[in-house]
């Protein structure tokens, strides 16, 4: 039983990382009806930005809250800029092009970033700076609440609450929902859809930036292909929850995180990734719109 609770804690912690990344997929899908395959590579660049910045400042051996916050900010800023640039240079010129063209472009941008990453950063893994010390914060019976997991949880919950506030309580959030629902009507009312789309990329990318630092902290090996698997899983999480649906992405990510942890704990770690794609297949067969998706999924 105690093991089980421990696994739940780990699973939720993993799930919240997936959620941070899944939100980027789902927000961009919600507004542009496209899957931004480059999103996982934006996440990778965020990790490297934090890595180099930490070395540049010499804070890589200086774990603590300040380091955490500094790296979060650096990664968020770099990811936003990259996301913005991708949107501006690769996707905006194709706004009126057929969906397939945009999809292929997204894959192209993703490959471009992965291979440039290998050239620029080098292909072998780097050790992410020690953001924080991992220690047992609380102990309840045999259940250990480690500082990493608690940090991951707190940071992602704050990020998600901020997102929730942004989307549902602010004027620009309302405009985001309006553009996502009907861009031409929104523009009749004075919303500049291009600005809102750019803003959506900024928000989604900076959440990936948050995710990259948390992952770097917890699994401190980073390499230019680090985004592939986690990106795929986050994408599956977004589809599972109902792509385009913000709450769905979080729900899907938690399910993914928990089930992955349980599979590893009670079955075998060999099935870890197979399980994720099993979920994708099952969802596509039985509930293509996802758990919280209301509309039939559009063809891409």
């Amino acid at each position: 039983m105690q093991d089980f609770i421990q696994h739940i804690i780990n699973g939720v912690s993993l799930g919240s990382i997936y959620a941070l990344i899944a939100l980027g997929y789902t927000m961009v899908y919600g507004i542009l009806k496209m899957i931004n395959f480059a999103h996982s590579d934006v996440y990778m660049v965020g990790a490297f930005a934090a890595y180099y910045f930490a070395r540049f400042l010499g804070i890589e051996n200086n774990p603590g809250i300040t380091t955490l916050i500094t790296l979060l900010v650096v990664s968020m800023v770099c990811c936003s800029l990259l996301g913005l640039a991708i949107e501006r240079l690769a996707y905006r010129p194709l706004r009126k092009a057929p969906k397939l063209n945009i999809l292929i472009t997204a894959i192209g941008v993703s490959l471009f970033l992965e291979y440039s990453g290998q050239v620029v950063f080098g292909a072998d893994p780097k050790v992410f700076p020690e953001v924080m010390k991992d220690f047992v914060l609380f102990k309840i019976g045999d259940i250990e609440l480690k500082s990493f997991d608690i940090t991951v949880l707190i940071v992602s919950v704050i990020a998600m609450l901020a997102l929730e506030f942004l989307i549902f309580k602010t004027k620009i959030g309302r405009a985001m929902r309006a553009v996502s629902s009907n861009a031409s009507v929104a523009s009749l009312l004075g919303v500049n859809p291009d600005r809102i789309i750019a803003f959506t990329f900024i928000v989604g990318s900076s959440l990936a930036g948050v995710g990259s630092v948390l992952v770097g902290m917890k699994y401190p090996k980073i390499d230019p292909l680090m985004g592939m698997m986690i990106g795929l899983k986050a994408f599956v999480a977004a589809v599972l929850g109902g792509i385009g649906n913000v709450g769905g992405a979080v729900l899907g990510a938690l399910i993914m995180g928990l089930s992955e942890e349980m599979v590893v704990a009670y079955l075998s770690s060999t099935y870890r990734d197979a399980f994720a794609f099993g979920i994708l297949i099952v969802i596509l067969i039985f509930r293509p719109a996802g758990l919280l998706g209301k509309y039939s999924v559009e063809k891409v």
Binding site: A175, R177, A178, S181, V185, S187, L188, L189, G190, V191
Partner: protein
Amino acid sequence: MSSPLLTAENLEVFYGSIQALKGISFFVNTGEIVSLIGANGAGKTTTLRAISGLVPNKGQISFAGQNLNVVPTYKRVSLGLAQSPEGRGVFPQMSIYENLEMGAYSRKDKTQIKADLEMCFELFPRLKERLSQMAGTLSGGEQQMLAISRALMCKPKMLLLDEPSLGLAPLVVAQIFEIIKKLNKEGMTILLVEQNARMALKISHRAYVLETGRIVMQDSAENLLNNDEVRKSYLGI
């Protein structure tokens, strides 16, 4: 006489290879209700879309003395041009209140916005009762009320209405037309697109008859109501 509020000259609109508007010209004076009537596919909606800049057009549109061709859609609302689009275009996942707030998106005058909200509620008390209801769950008539109110929240000089009576019960249609008339009495200039030609002509000052992308008739609404051709083709008499 001052120059018209809106003038369109030689509008041509293409959808791919289909030409939906074949060089139409018309104008709307300040304070007028002008109707655009015509059969399905005549190009009425396309005309409104061209005025709002949702489709590119060859030709010349000017509004309040300004050349609209160089103004992107999202800036036209601040010039005083608001549209209640075909099919209402309410945001289904937003509440009535949020839809109305979207109408005021490009405005900053908080107190005036409040006053305009109250005005909408006076016109359509139904909306006030259901402020937090999702627009997608409203009835067709209620959505139409919301779409018109949302356009009013833009505080326009001119209102473009695309088939405000579509799919509504006769009683609601009469109510909507009453309100259009009332808005006009209070000074609003209105360009009205309607299938319901009789109702439209009754409240309009002038009208244009569109037929497959061309204007085939234009006259005062009164004359058109008595015109044999119009009576036969559009009024079903």
